[in-house]
């Protein structure tokens, strides 16, 4: 029974991940069209356009992956075949797995059995996320090296240097988050954010760690290798960077890994800084507003509300990332590195030091 439940939560986590990715594909297409004041993808239709109406979102979501998956798979003759096959798998697998530790709801009780709406209740959740994100480098390095092509190679060297540089800023941001909550468990962190500050403001992480939020978000965008940090695949310079020699489903897997990273960053910011699945003032038995107003809600609806709130927050942050991607120009490589090492790193260190000192001071005050 335990195994079945665990399998189901794992499936849900994976499905959230896949669905968000596919939805992002659509949002990216239509969103970019919105930003650039054009119509965007509107041709995909069933039965050769015989239908009088456009099926819209479903169409794009179906047509794009289908098109990619049915393309010819090409492995260049000069490539290292085994590693060429391995790279997309390595790029996608750890990112899929990251979603397993993100809580998408509270612990619910069904038929006397506690079900944690988090596929893997790992006590070191934050470290797990960091570990999996750091494994993302391998897809880039191995893919570029195995292709044996100059563009791919340049892209992969650039990409991996960029990813590891911004990982430090990410790690520092996470350290300051851990300082605030005193735990590495993501579910625990989400739960702690259900409290209220001064009885009015929800105790979301962003109010405690605004700088860490900005750091994590920027580092995350850099980690996902999208504009303005899309140097590894800069179209105008490197064709497609490390994925130049890939086609069909392998190429789509690299694309997917970018989108999953966008979703991971959104999920991570949501969980760490914006209350995760928490809805302000919503408790297990319903809303308790600060004025004393109480609205009772059945627990099943509460759970649903929490899951929806998590997904909505995730989509908001995905959308912000897409807005950034379509608004800002690409950085130069020296600017990119200087930004990571000379701005984010010192700021991150200072933030850790400041939050540690402040935390201890505040605790001293509250104790006396």
């Amino acid at each position: 029974m335990d195994v079945i439940i665990s399998f189901c939560t794992a499936l849900v986590a994976l499905l959230i991940c896949l669905q968000v990715t596919v939805l992002l594909l659509w949002i990216e297409r239509k969103g970019s069209a919105l930003i650039q004041d054009r119509v965007g993808a509107n041709r995909a239709n069933l039965f050769g356009g015989l239908l009088p109406f456009n099926l819209g979102i479903v169409n794009t979501m179906m047509a794009d992956p289908l098109k990619l998956l049915t393309k010819e798979d090409i492995v260049p003759a000069a490539a290292d075949r085994l590693l060429h096959w391995l790279a997309p798998w390595v790029a996608v697998f750890p990112l899929f797995l990251t979603f397993a530790v993100v809580p998408f709801g509270d612990v619910i009780v069904v038929g006397g059995r506690e079900i944690n709406l988090q596929a893997v209740a790992l006590s070191g959740g934050i470290l797990f996320v960091l570990a999996m994100v750091s494994l993302g480098v391998y897809g880039v390095i191995v893919g570029g090296w195995a292709s044996n092509s100059r563009y791919a190679f340049l892209g992969s060297v650039r990409g991996s240097a960029q990813m590891i540089s911004y990982e430090i800023a990410m790690g520092l941001a996470l350290v300051s988050v851990v300082l605030t909550y005193g735990t590495l468990d993501l579910q625990e962190i989400a739960r702690l954010q259900g409290r209220l500050m001064w009885g009015v403001v929800p105790a979301w992480g962003v109010f405690y760690q605004p700088i860490a939020f900005v750091l994590l978000f920027i580092a995350g965008i850099a980690e996902s290798k999208r504009a303005p940090f899309d140097l590894p695949e800069a179209e105008s310079e490197l064709v497609a960077g490390f994925q130049t020699e890939y086609s069909g489903s392998k190429m789509s897997m690299f694309m997917m890994s970018d989108f999953i990273e966008v979703a991971i960053i959104a999920a991570l910011t949501t969980t760490l800084f914006f209350g995760g699945w928490q809805v302000p003032f919503l408790y297990r038995d319903g809303f308790h507003f600060p004025g004393g107003l109480t609205v009772a809600i059945p627990s099943l609806i509460v759970t649903l509300l929490q899951i929806v709130s998590f997904l909505v927050k995730v989509f908001v942050f995905c959308w912000i990332q897409i807005l950034i991607r379509w608004s800002l120009p690409r950085l130069r490589y020296d600017q990119l590195m200087a930004f990571g090492w000379k701005k984010l790193l010192p700021v991150g260190l200072a933030n850790v030091a400041a939050s540690a000192v402040l935390g201890l001071l505040l605790e001293g005050w509250t104790r006396t």
Binding site: V3, S6, F7, T9, A10, L11, L14, L69, K71, E72, D73, I74, V75, P76, A78, P88, W89, V92, F93, F96, L97, A100, A119, V120, A121, S123, S147, N148, S149, R150, Y151, V157, A161, I164, I168, G171, L172, V175, S176, V178, L179, G182, S247, G248, S249, K250, S252, M253, D334, M337, A338, W341, L345, P346, L349, V352, A353, V357, G359, L360
Partner: protein, 118 residues
């Protein structure tokens, strides 16, 4: 349930999906081999020489090495961050000394220009 068993189930599931995706084009896509298609893409020119043997600026390597050092520093910070309330000012002083020494290193590499990209 043991979280690591759950992790194993998850890994199996994710691995399976990733593998299916990987072979999708082999199964669904058609194959029309031609010599040019299997060449390395160099904007239409036939590739000259081999990639193996060309080398890259040492800068990239320096980045990786600095990354390792700071990564280790961050690794030490996590246990401290979890327990820093119990460790109190003493723990903070320890960590401050640790960070201070590494900040000296950062200042040095900054001064020397190891962070400059031209």
């Amino acid at each position: 349930m043991n979280p690591y068993a759950a992790l194993l189930i998850n890994a199996a599931l994710c691995g399976l999906v990733a593998t299916i995706l990987l072979f999708m084009s082999r199964i669904l896509g058609r194959r029309r081999p031609s010599k040019v298609k299997y060449e390395i893409f160099e904007t239409g020119n036939p590739p000259i020489g081999s990639l193996r043997g060309t080398r890259f600026p040492v800068k990239f390597y320096l980045t990786a090495i600095l990354f390792i050092i700071f990564d280790i520093e961050i690794v030490f910070m996590y246990p401290w961050a979890v327990a820093y309330r119990e460790l109190g000012w003493f723990g903070l002083a320890e960590m401050a000394a640790f960070m201070g020494i590494l900040a000296v290193g950062l200042a040095y590499i900054w001064r020397v220009g190891a962070l400059e990209w031209d």
